[in-house]
Structure formats: C-alpha cells, structure tokens
C-alpha cells in the first residue's frame, strides 16, 4: 500500500489532485487539497471567468467556435427537415421510431446525473457533491435542451407542436391525456424549469462574488443583475438554505419521474422488448449511469485545463466511478431480468425478440451495448483503474457509446421484426448522423459558454465543506483567527442551520 497521506501529498498542484490516498478507516479524507484559504478557492474557480473577453484561452475559443459551428449546422439541418420532412430519415415501416427517439432518450438520460448529484446526494448529505454539482447541473440543463429539440423535431410537422399543449382551440381538439407521450411534454418541461431554478438558486451567491470582484462596468451589471441583490447577510443565507433544501426535495422525485415517463413511452405498449414492468427503475438507473459518464467525460479534461485538481480530486473521480459501477451493474441486472423473464414467461414472442436482439441482424448493436454498459464498467472493481484519470476517461467514453446503443437496441430491434413477417425490414440511417452531431453542437456550444462565463464550481458550497467552515476550526496557523469576510459567510450559514 502506498504511504502517501494528506500530509505528504506532493506540492505540485498539477499532480496533487491525481494522487490517490488510502481510504481512511476512521475520519474522512479532506475534500479539498492543498490547504487553500477561501480566497484561494475563489481565485482558482473564477480564474477563467474573470479573464477579459479578448484573452479567452485559445482552446476554449476553438471549442466554442466548434460547438457554435455544430449548432449552426444543426440550425441548417432543421431548416432542411422543415423543407423536406422526416423523409430525410431512414424511418420507415415497421421502424417508425429510430434516431429521433434514440437521441431524445440519450440526452434526457444524461441530464439525470445532474439532478441526482444536486438533489439526492444533497439530501443524503454527501459533501463531496459540492465539487461537481454546478457542472453537472449545467450539463443537465443543456442536455434537456438537446433532448427537447430532438423530441420537438421528431413530430415531423414542427409548426404543429403547439398541439401538444392543452391550449383551447376552435377545432375543440385536446391532446390525449392518456398517452405517455403527452405526459412526457409535462415531465420534460417540469424537469427543465425546476433544474433551471435549482441551478440558478445555487449560482446566486457565486454571481455576487463575481459582481463584487468585477472591474468593468458590463460585468458589474451582468453579474449584478444575476446576483439579485445578494449581500451575503445571515438572513440571505437562511433563506438560501431553506430554498435550496425545498428545491432539492422537489427535484428528488424528478430524478425518478422524468425517465420513468420516458420508459412509459415504450413500456405501456404491447410490443415485446418494450413492454416489461422493470422498465421504469431500469431506465432511471441507466439514465444516472449515462449522466455520470458524461460528467466524467466533461470534467476530467476541464479540471486539468482549468487548474481545478485541488477541488475536483481523484477522490471525486473515484466516487463517481463507483456510482458508474453500481448503476452499470443495475442496468446489467435489468438486462438479465428481462432476458430471464422472456424465457420464464413461456411467451414465444418475448423469447424471439431477445434471441433476435442478441443474434439477429442488429446483434452488433446489442453486443456493443452489453460490452460498454455492463462488461467494461466492471473494470472499476479495481482501485487502480477507478483512480486512474486515463482509465476513467476511456471507460466513461465507452459508457456514453453504450448508452446511446442501448436506446438504439430497445427502439429499433424491437420494431424491425414485428408480428407480420412480410413487413420485416432493416433500418439504415440516411442523414441522421447530422442530427446527432447537431445536438452535440448545441450541447457543447452552450456548455463551453457556461464554462467561460459562469463559475463551474459551486464556490460557496465548496467552502462550506472545507475545514475553515467548521465553527471549531483552529485558524490559519498560529492565532491567525478567522479569514476575511467569506469565512464569516460560511460560518454564519453553518450556524444558521445547525
């Protein structure tokens, strides 16, 4: 076993965050490394936000431009779709749902990790979440936007989408409230708005910090408006903590409800491969799984490029990998249970669907899914692998691929060989790849803008889990007492709710 302890961590901040420590049997590992003061945390987090616009790092500039280009391409593609109709896709009988729905489920699933981290881990008092929640929440919002665009476009006649909403009209036409597709409209919209509210509430104290430190007028105005007059008084913190807790409680059911309803889109049907009772919890586990993988994919490069390794340490990476292992195994349980019951049921059609999935024309997709979702995450049983940044990145990437394929397998393989053998067909995409790339463009464009202008770490929350926030903290060195203003914030916040 390595002898590295917190006291003997290397000095180099580029190395320090990647060193894995032995898990303490007693007490808990420090969540932030390097013995930083509150002020140093602020400096670290806001470094990229506070650069003048002209001095945006080239990598970030390039990323935003690339994302923007993808987004623009998406706009063009939507125009083409408007003009031509969904005939530009490979969808045809019997495969009426394909990449449009696959992309939707893929993106909406990714969002779930953000909500799990910010709401459920908050309710479980998992303090390590503070280093990753802001990031993950932002990911949620942009992923839900990408998902919404997929689902809005899949209707074909996009200009008729308002019929999804229960608006009175002269035709006396109402949406079918018994359809899960209609429930989706409400579920996804609720999800988007609650997530946005939650994200914004958490951002308010950090916006205030940005406002107070701003040197130029537009920044003072921009962040000042966003900070909603936050002054950091004890009363503000009390309200903030209450609001945060209530929003967390409201968001927690959303972690389950949104993907449950997405699973209903499939499972209320009578189609073998779609209709099975385990779908709701199975989809939720898969969503969290894919979301954590996406958080890793985004976070691992960012923590290196933005110099945040002391805040997002290998401990955080390891914890997330453990959740990936857990949820990946849960997904494996669901695959196995579905397979088992297909044969336990004695229903020939169920049995056929699963044989066809694993050995039929789309078996390549099925085995891609199984390898990426169930088999490769099992490598995270090894501590060496789950504490390695490179391995984490590669395996998380596999999960992203595997989870896209999972939705493809569910949607397409169940449809392509339906009950009428003469209508069997092999689905081949036509222009859909631009659709998928376009949603990635939208996602990365917004996400990188977020990285450029908003604090990617919830500073105020990270400070509250640092030793300085403990009312019994001994102080910086000998008799240095409490630090500047920010210490008082955190202590006040802590005092207010303990």
């Amino acid at each position: 076993m390595s002898a590295t302890t917190e006291a003997t961590l290397p000095q180099d901040p580029n190395v320090r965050g990647d060193v894995s420590l032995d898990e303490p049997v007693k007490g808990r590992e420090a969540l932030v490394r390097g013995g930083h003061s509150f002020h140093e945390v602020t400096e670290m987090v806001l470094k990229v936000n506070e650069l003048p616009v002209a001095k945006t790092p080239n990598g970030l500039k390039f990323g935003i431009a690339l994302g923007g280009a993808g987004f623009a391409m998406f706009g063009g593609y939507i125009g083409y779709l408007f003009w031509m109709g969904p005939g530009i896709w490979g969808n045809n009988n019997p495969v009426g749902w394909a990449w449009d729905i696959v992309n939707f489920v893929f993106w909406v699933g990714i969002g779930h990790a953000g909500t799990l981290i910010s709401a459920i881990l908050y309710l479980f008092r998992q303090k390590w979440r503070t280093s990753i929640n802001r990031y993950a929440e932002a990911m949620t919002i942009f992923a839900v936007l990408a998902a919404s665009s997929c689902v809005a476009l899949h209707t074909g006649r996009i200009w008729m989408d308002f019929y999804l909403f229960p608006l009175p009209n002269q035709m006396g036409l109402w949406p079918n409230f018994r359809s899960p597709l209609e429930w989706d409209v409400f579920a996804v919209n609720t999800y988007l708005f609650v997530s946005l509210l939650f994200w914004f509430t958490g951002l308010v104290p950090d916006f205030a910090t940005l406002r107070d430190r701003a040197r130029v007028r537009w920044r003072q105005l921009f962040y000042g408006m966003l900070a909603l007059g936050w002054r950091g008084s004890t009363r503000h913190w009390v309200h903030y903590e209450k609001a945060y807790q209530i929003l967390a409680a409201f968001s927690a059911p959303l972690v389950l409800s949104v993907h449950t309803i997405v699973s209903f889109d499939f499972a209320v049907s009578q189609l073998p491969g779609w209709h099975t009772t385990i779908f709701p919890p199975y989809f939720v586990a898969g969503a969290i799984f894919s979301g954590f993988a996406m958080v890793q994919t985004l976070m691992l490069p960012a923590r290196a490029w933005l110099g945040l390794k002391d805040i997002v340490t290998v401990k955080h990476i390891e914890n997330m990998n453990k959740i990936i292992l857990l949820t990946g195994t849960l997904v494996g349980y669901a695959y196995a249970m579905e397979y088992f019951v297909a044969f336990y049921s004695g229903n020939e059609y169920e049995g056929f669907t699963f044989i066809n999935r694993s050995f039929g024309p789309y078996s390549w997709a099925y085995w891609t899914m199984v390898s990426c979702n169930v088999i490769s995450p099992q490598l995270f049983w090894f501590k060496k692998i789950r504490t390695s940044v490179a391995w984490s990145f590669v395996l998380a990437f596999f999960v992203n691929i595997g989870m896209w394929f999972e939705r493809f397998v569910i949607t397409v393989t169940s449809l392509h060989r339906d009950a009428l053998v003469s209508s069997w067909d092999y689905f081949v995409p036509v222009t859909e790849v631009f659709f998928l790339l376009g949603t990635f463009g939208l996602f990365f464009f917004l996400f990188l803008l977020f990285v450029r202008f908003f604090p990617v770490i919830a500073m105020a929350e990270v400070k509250s889990v640092m030793p300085q926030a403990n009312p019994h903290w001994e102080g910086y060195g000998h008799g240095a007492g409490h630090g500047p203003g920010q210490t008082a914030h955190a202590s006040a916040a802590h005092g207010a709710h303990s």
């Binding site: 049997v25 007693k26 209903f264 499972a267 209709h275 385990i278 349980y333």
Partner: protein
C-alpha cells in the same frame, strides 16, 4: 458538531432480568405453539389454507432479516458513519437468516403441492417453463440462496464480533478493509438471491404470471418495513436500558427518513408495475390484478395506494414526527402493519376456496398464529444472539462519528 469527543457508551449489555433475556424462552414457546398449531392444521383437511398462512408469515420475517442483510452490505460499501450505533442490531437480525432454512422446510415438504400449482399441473405454458420451474432446480436454488445468505450474514456478524475483541488498531483496520472488500460483491449476490427467491417463492404461486419488476418490489417492500422495524426494536431496547444515550433523536430521524424514502420507493415500484400491466392489458399479465381488484380483495387493492402510501407519506413527512419517539413509533408500527397487508395481498389471493369466487377474501386464525409463531422463532434467536454480545459495535472506528451524528 460537538466540540468534545464523546465517551463510549457503557450501557451496552442487556441487563439480566430484562424481558430481552427471557425472550429466547418466550419466543421459543410462541414458536412451538404458533407454528405447531399451524402445522397441526396443515396435517388435517385445511392443509392448503394453513400452509398459505405459514408462507405468508415466513416471507414477512424473511423479508425483514434479508433487508437487514442488504442494509448492512450497502451501509458498509457506502462507508456510512451515522448508522454505526445500530449496526450490531442489524447484524444480529441478519444472523437469524440460517434459521429460515429450517423454517423453509415445511414449505417444500408439507406445503409444496398445496402452494405451488406448477409442481403438479400441466399445460403448454407450464411445459415451456419446466426448465426453471422443476423440482430439482427449485430445491437446488433454495439451497443456494440459504448458503449465500448464511455465508454473507455470518461473515458480517462474526467479523463485527471479532472487532469488539480486537485491541490492536492495525489489526482492526485491516479487518474493516477486508469487510469493505467483502461487502461490495456481496451486494450482487444479495440482489440476485433476494430477487430470485421472491420469484421462486412468491411469484411462482401464480405460475403463468410474470413481472420483471417483482424482485425490486420485494426489495422495496421489505426494506421499507425493515427501517420501521429497526426503529421499534431500538426503542424497545432503550426501554430495557441499553444504548440510552448512544442512539439519539438524530438516529431515529434518519431511520424515519429511510422509512419515509422507501415508502415513496415502494409506491413508485408498485405503481410502475400496476400501470404498465393495466395499460397494456395483456391477459397473461392482467390476471394478477383482475383477481385482486374484485370482490373482497378489491377493497384491499384500492386501499393500498391510500393506506400504504399517502397516509404514511404525509404522516412521516414531518421532521417533528420522525424525531419524537411516540411519533416515530406510531408511524413505524403503521408501516409494519401495512407491510403485512401488502404481503398478505401478494400471497393469499392464490389460495382458492372451493365453492367461492376467485376473489373471495378470507382471514383465518392460522394467519395470526403463523405470524405469532414465526415472530416467536425470529425473536427467540435474535434476542439470544443479542444478549450474548454487546449491543453496539464498540470498537468500530466510526463509532465516534456516529455518536455525535447530527442532522442539519
């Protein structure tokens, strides 16, 4: 957070003369009387009815013991700190699992054909299921489950007892790390065995019916009941004069929160199963609900969402209720009662009364006697094991963290 390190609790042995020390005898007597009368009944013409009572009571207590095992494994893997003060109690509950192997015997001997129609009926669908529902495989699986549960629970239990006696910190820490490594794959074994045990022993009562979520249903229901049960057991132990200061309102608050959380989780799973089967309306799946939604069972079916979800949800929502002993005791007892109702509703409709419609609801004295007997057997072993050791894992490295645990 407290400024001072708390001193270790001293009221950690069940005092001689308390009811808990007499419980092995009392429980044993109840077990003999209760199970004896039920099995006596099974010897007569009401064999099937008596064995359904027996299976019902068996699943109730098996569920609690299994959920205790699941809790321990998950708790260990999650490195939970708050729960150390109640861990020994959970370990002791889980350590009763080997007893269930013996209690299972009447089910596969006296009750086998009465309970499980697939053992003697024949039709096309059942023939397709023979690869799974066959005598040899069924028995083999049961043996496997009990071996796994015995292994998992005894390793957790013994390792924790050994920790009490370990004075060397290095040796103790090594033991803790070993347990971490053991518990993680243990969760997989636990999840698979408890799911398939639920399928084998409860789902196959209706051999044509199937539901992929059934194993999760069993998990949700039993874990919800477990947290309620744990809260009540701890309160009873405190009355007997142990852990009076160690287990505080903070721990009860957490037990209440888990009961509350799993109330929602149970409702979520139960609703998912129901709505998907109702919506798709496929005959081989709907038979489960058709049978339960008419006649006498209908009232229970319609009551379950209200009484098993809405009532405990709103009752346990309050922080105040969860932190006060009386409030939590009331909520926990109620949740446990609804757990009984839920399992009764899952198992008993499969018993067909001759000359009565399928939906005929029937509650007979053997149901109560089976519960009393099974509870007697469980508590006899549980209290016997508990009284032999300290009721708290006194040497646990996270004990201090648990003692000063606070919700905020």
């Amino acid at each position: 957070m407290s400024a001072h390190a708390p001193s270790k609790p001293t009221d950690i042995n069940i005092p001689a003369g308390s009811l808990w020390t007499k419980m092995p005898v009392i429980g044993g007597v109840l077990a003999v009387v209760g199970l004896g009368s039920v099995l006596g009944m099974a010897g007569g013409e009401h064999r099937a009815r008596a064995m359904f009572s027996y299976l019902f009571a068996f699943e109730i207590f098996l569920g609690l013991a299994l959920a205790a095992l699941g809790f321990l494994l998950i708790d260990t893997v999650a490195r939970a700190g708050w729960s150390v003060v109640i861990r020994r109690i959970a370990e002791t509950m889980a350590a009763t699992l080997p007893l269930f192997a013996i209690l299972f015997l009447p089910i596969v001997t006296i009750g086998y054909h009465e309970l499980y129609p697939w053992t003697h009926e024949h039709d096309t669908v059942l023939e397709r299921k023979r690869w799974f529902l066959s005598d040899g495989f069924f028995m083999g699986r049961a043996v496997f489950y009990f071996v796994v549960w015995t292994m998992l629970s005894l390793v957790m239990y013994r390792s924790s007892l050994a920790q009490d006696a370990t004075t060397d910190e290095g040796a103790r820490n090594a033991r803790v790390r070993k347990l971490w490594a053991f518990a993680a794959p243990g969760i997989i074994l636990y999840a698979l065995t408890q799911s398939f045990a639920a399928i084998d022993w409860m789902m196959s009562l209706m051999p044509h019916w199937y539901s992929t979520i059934f194993g999760v249903y069993f998990f949700a229901a039993s874990v919800q009941a477990y947290f309620a049960f744990m809260a009540l057991v701890v309160m009873a132990l405190q009355r007997a004069g142990v852990l009076k200061d160690a287990v505080t309102s903070e721990h009860f608050h957490d037990l209440g929160k888990y009961t509350f959380g799993f109330t929602i989780f149970w409702a979520y799973i139960a609703f998912s199963q129901f709505v998907l089967i109702w919506y798709a309306n496929i005959p081989e799946e709907t038979e489960f609900y058709v049978m339960r939604m008419h006649g006498g069972w209908g009232a229970i079916s319609y009551a379950l969402p209200v009484l098993h979800f809405f009532v405990p949800f709103f009752f346990l929502l309050s922080r105040h209720v969860k932190r006060k002993r009386t409030g939590l005791a009331l909520g926990a007892s109620y949740v446990l009662f609804m757990y009984l109702v839920d399992f009764y509703w899952l198992i008993l409709p499969n018993f067909k009364v001759e000359g009565q419609p399928e939906t005929h609801f029937h509650l007979v004295w053997t149901d109560v006697m089976a519960l009393v007997g099974m509870g007697g057997a469980f508590f006899a072993l549980f209290s016997f094991l508990l009284a032999r050791n300290k009721v708290i894992a006194i040497n646990d490295p996270r004990l201090e963290e648990s003692l000063v645990h606070e919700n905020y």
